[in-house]
Amino acid sequence: MFDEKEVVSAILKGNFRAFERLVKQYEKLVFFVVNRLVQHLQDKEDICQDVFIKVHHSLPRFQFQSKLSTWIARIAYLTAVDYVKRSKAGLQADYPENIDHYHFNDETPESALVQKDTAAYVNLLIAQMPLQYRTVLTLYHLNEFTCAEIEQITGIPEGTVKSHLFRARKILKEKIEHDHNH
């Protein structure tokens, strides 16, 4: 049983085993966020490490005003976004905001290869989407945060989170249907 308050208090007293427990508890959550926003696998691991070092550094300021998972997810999100902005991969964030007129790039050899494996194909399509849509889909579906929690994590208003979720899922469904019929 993972008791947030007990573990945080132990970490603040300098207990590294407690910190290891915290990392084990939230490593999936952090990886899911970083995985969708960052492309390169080695960078993903480095960023996840960086996130947990930041968590340890900022823990004395954590006041339990939100869930620990939400707070850690916010650090992961901000760290990954910062990385994306600094790297060339950040160019993807420059996609037009109006996703209704968005066109996926399906001329890559990779896309042709993975179309038969729908799960991999969905991930490939998501990777091509604007950063905010990728983030919202990941936090909602993989990390199982509510729209209100996603607002706390990303700063995107709850209404916009819902709208991003709806539009992203709609164009994904239409794209898969379109590919299935052709």
Partner: protein, 142 residues
């Protein structure tokens, strides 16, 4: 028969309640199935993940980082302590005996190169230590 919109289908699936196809028109049923399939893909965890010993690795790195910070702090404090010590001795001597204070200052200045080399050696050791730790971290990561 009432037609379900995309919003309604997504809301139904978001609620997580079991949905039956009974009573739905063929196009609605197809839409629902497409969304159900998409939702299951979106909820599926990625195949790749972090290495098995990730937590242990991060904890070890954190310990190294904290130790390094503490060493740097200690060394800089020691340096400051020596500097403050000299000033205090000189201050006390000038209160008690100006000649002795002057002789002390002369002695310190005569060995100025020893102090300067000492300070640079300490900084050099800190930089060297930093490099060794970084190398060790790099090897640890591989």
């Amino acid at each position: 028969m009432k037609k379900l919109t995309d919003e309604q289908i997504q809301a139904l699936l978001d609620d997580g309640n079991p949905i039956t196809n009974v009573g739905l028109s063929a196009p609605d049923r197809q839409q629902l199935e497409s969304y159900q399939s998409l939702f299951s893909k979106l909820n599926a965890e990625p195949a790749e993940g972090l290495p098995f010993h990730f937590a242990r690795k991060v904890t070890a790195q954190l310990q190294i980082k904290l130790k390094r910070q503490s060493d740097i702090r200690f060394n800089l404090l020691a340096l400051l302590g020596v500097f403050v010590g000299f000033i205090s001795v000189y201050g006390l001597l000038s209160l008690m005996d100006l000649k002795a204070a002057s002789a002390f200052l002369q002695a310190v200045l005569r060995f100025k190169w020893v102090w300067i080399i000492g300070v640079f050696t300490l900084i050099g050791v800190l930089v060297f230590e930093q490099q060794v730790v970084e190398e060790r971290e790099h090897r640890f990561n591989e």
